[in-house]
Structures are given as structure tokens and as C-alpha cells.
Symmetry: C2
Subunit: 241 residues, 2 copies
């Protein structure tokens, strides 16, 4: 299970690169497989599936591994953060293969910190990571977590803030955060961090909905001390300067 980071080869760790080079079979979501095109030499078997094909993709990877192939199951970012690592471990256990196959999880630069780097340093203090996708998680639980995170003055990182079908969640999340965070709390939106179509927007909680977001966006909302410094966002850690 290989984390490929944001997508550019400059952000792919040598450990991940080696795993991709050594694998006979590479399995992953279409969009991310395309970012790896230079590595996909003709002798490799490539299995790519669409966005909601996670279980199918994992089962195909396991089938190829059971047949004796070295398989790289690819996640963009880090495979352990809303990626494929957990599902793969669960299916390997179900198939009784967890102890017989050599399994390794190779970390990658996760979207939260890639996006943060483009915004400056918004994650310098305690933060939460929450996905706004309610495909697999009851929306009530997501709302509860948003409220608690805002009450604790955490910096909040939102994964999956919207999709084609889901457009109201970010508005509701903003309402909940506004019960604890000031409207002028700085916020940032990074779409396609470190990819060709990258866009970086610095805004605040009040104006958050004026900026377009989608599945390729990460939204970060500061804590009460987060502020702008030039073009950057900074959350002070508390050093005396």
C-alpha cells in the first residue's frame, strides 16, 4: 500500500518509488494512476478503477497478490488517511492472508500538510482532520465532531468538502464552526496542491462559501490565534519573539 503524496514526482518518497518500480501490478484510482504515467513501464499490469470502486479495486489487488505477484496498491497522499490501507488490511484479514502475504504500508505526504505548506503554516498547533463526505459516515456524527472541534479551538482541516452530488455540507459546517469561531477567523482553500492546476485561496470563515471547492480541495480553518502574515497564514505556537 503505497502513498504517492500530492502527485508530482518531486514529492514521491524514494521508498514509494522503489515499491512502484518493483511491483509487477499497480492498482489505483484512475486519476492518481494517470499522475504516475512515467513509471508505468510496459511490462507492468495496471488496474485502474473509478472513484467509488474502492472495494473492487482492493479485491483485485489481493487476487493478484494471492497469485504470486508483487502488487502496489496506490493511494494519493498517505494511504492511511482516508486512503486504501485500512480497507486492504480488512480484506486481507477476511481472506486469511494477513499473516501469509508480506504486507507493508508506505507513508506519503498527506494532503493536509501539502495544502498547509502552500498556505504557510496554519497547522502549527493542535488540529483535527474531518471528512465532510457522508457516504460512509452518518452526517450527525460529522456535525457533532465539527462542533466539538470548534469548541476546542482546534485548527480544522476538511477533506472532501464537496463533490458534484454533495454541495450543502460545507455551508452547514461553516454554520457550526461560526457558533464557536469568529467570522474573521482566517481560512484557506487549496485545490490540487503541488499539481498542474493548483489554486490557493486565503479567505476567512465569513467569506468561505464564496470560493469554489470540490473533491480535490482541502479547506483549513484557523484557531483563534491564526492570522495572516503577508500572503501566508500562520498559527503561532506561542514562542516569545
Amino acid at each position: 500500500m503505497v502513498g504517492t503524496g500530492p502527485g508530482d514526482a518531486a514529492d514521491l518518497s524514494p521508498r514509494a518509488l522503489q515499491a512502484l518500480q518493483e511491483a509487477r501490478v499497480i492498482v489505483g484510482y484512475k486519476t492518481y494512476i494517470q499522475l504516475l504515467a512515467p513509471l508505468l513501464t510496459p511490462e507492468k499490469e495496471v488496474i485502474s478503477t473509478g472513484m467509488t470502486g474502492e472495494v473492487d479495486r482492493c479485491r483485485q489487488a489481493i487476487d493478484r497478490a494471492r497469485a504470486g505477484n508483487s502488487v502496489a496498491l496506490v493511494s494519493s497522499g498517505d494511504p492511511g488517511v482516508y486512503g486504501m490501507a485500512g480497507l486492504a488490511l480488512e480484506l486481507l484479514e477476511q481472506e486469511g492472508l494477513l499473516e501469509t502475504l508480506a504486507v507493508e504500508i508506505i507513508p506519503g505526504i498527506t494532503s493536509a500538510t501539502a495544502a498547509a505548506a502552500r498556505l504557510g503554516a496554519p497547522l502549527m498547533h493542535d488540529f483535527v482532520v474531518i471528512s465532510l463526505s457522508d457516504l460512509l459516515t452518518p452526517w450527525d456524527l460529522i456535525e457533532k465532531r465539527l462542533a466539538l472541534a470548534a469548541a476546542g479551538d482546534f485548527v480544522i482541516v476538511l477533506y472532501n468538502p464537496a463533490s458534484h452530488k454533495r454541495t450543502g455540507q460545507l455551508a452547514r459546517a461553516r454554520e457550526i464552526m461560526l457558533q464557536h469561531k469568529r467570522p474573521d477567523t482566517p481560512a484557506g482553500i487549496v485545490r490540487n496542491a503541488y499539481r498542474a492546476e493548483e489554486s490557493v485561496t486565503v479567505t476567512n470563515l465569513e467569506h468561505l462559501l464564496e470560493c469554489p471547492v470540490d473533491m480535490l480541495s482541502i479547506v483549513i480553518i484557523g484557531n483563534r490565534e491564526t492570522r495572516r502574515a503577508g500572503r501566508f497564514l500562520v498559527t503561532p505556537r506561542g514562542y516569545r519573539l
Copy 2:
């Protein structure tokens, strides 16, 4: 500001490597500078300082940059997660250099996901990152955040769980988490992830204090669905299998 990941060259991104190769001056905390020894060619100036010298280290980096040098200010893991990026941006602003110097934050594999990869896939669902160091943060606020995170059934990642001088914080954190999480909630401790002296321990909240922790350890406590799968920890995301 360069994130070098866990420490092994295999986890250093090509973007970070290039920055280190191009820099005339490399500034960082002693222990992490030692991990970079193979890159420290004789023509480079190396400035390393002790653990609590963050402000001094940053000022030295800025002085060298102001004098016209390309400077790499090194953080292990990701520079934006309890690293040097925020402090550096604050000091650059204070010195009026934020718009005149070319500033770049280069992300790295952060300790939370490096440790998680060694444990399996504990971060597959919403999680919080909290530092137990009260050097810069009032302990009351840390306790409040722990309680809210536990009440929200977040997976909890603890940075700086203990140091030579601080030994009681993890015990208190465990008490707080036990008000919301079951004693058999799986937990993991990873010390020196991906370094020579790595150790990985899988335990649970009840037995958490029986395992030694220090500044080089990351502690991860699961949510109510986290479970063991073979030697791994897995937090299911909710797929039907």
C-alpha cells in the same frame, strides 16, 4: 523551510533533497542534522542547536538569508506540524523580510502518518493531533482539547507524550480519555518510526502506561471501531465487505 520526514533518506522527498543540496547554509536541531550527515558536504555551513533553541535557530537562519545565502531551515517530519515553519514566518514578518526574501515551505511525511503506517491503518477516520507539551500551551487547554476529542470519538494522535522533565501528562491524558473511550480501546506507540532504533507497540488504553514513551514517541489511541487485525491496528472507514 524543509521537512525531512521521519529521518531515513528513503522517506525524504526529491523536492526536499534538492533544497538541501542547493542550500549554502543548513540550520536545524542537532539530532535531525545528524540524520542528514551524508548530505552535509564540506562547502556547506551547518548551524545546529539544542532542543529549546528554536527562536535562536530561526534568527540565525534569517541572518544568513539576509546576508544573501540560500538557507535550508530543517524540521524533521513536516515543518508545518509543530515544526519551524510558523516561527520562521513570524520572525520573517517581524524583520520585514516576508516579501523580499523567496520563502518556500517544503512538506514532509509527518510523524503522525509515519507512526500510523508502522501500526497498520489507525488513522482511516477523523482524527485529532494534540501535543502534550505544556511548555508553550496552558495545560488547561490541552486537557479541554483531550476531553472534546474523546467525546467526539476521534482517533487521537499525541505528539510529545513525555520528556525527561514531563512524565505525568500521559497519565492524566489517559484518565481524561477513559471518561469517553473504553479501556479496551486499541492504542499504539511508535518510537523512532523509520529510524534505526524503531520500536512499535500495540496495546490498549487500559495498559497504555505500561509502555515507555518519550519525546521521540508518537501515541495513537483508536476510536470506538478501531480493532486489531493480525499484528496491525485498523480503524474501519465503513465500507461493506
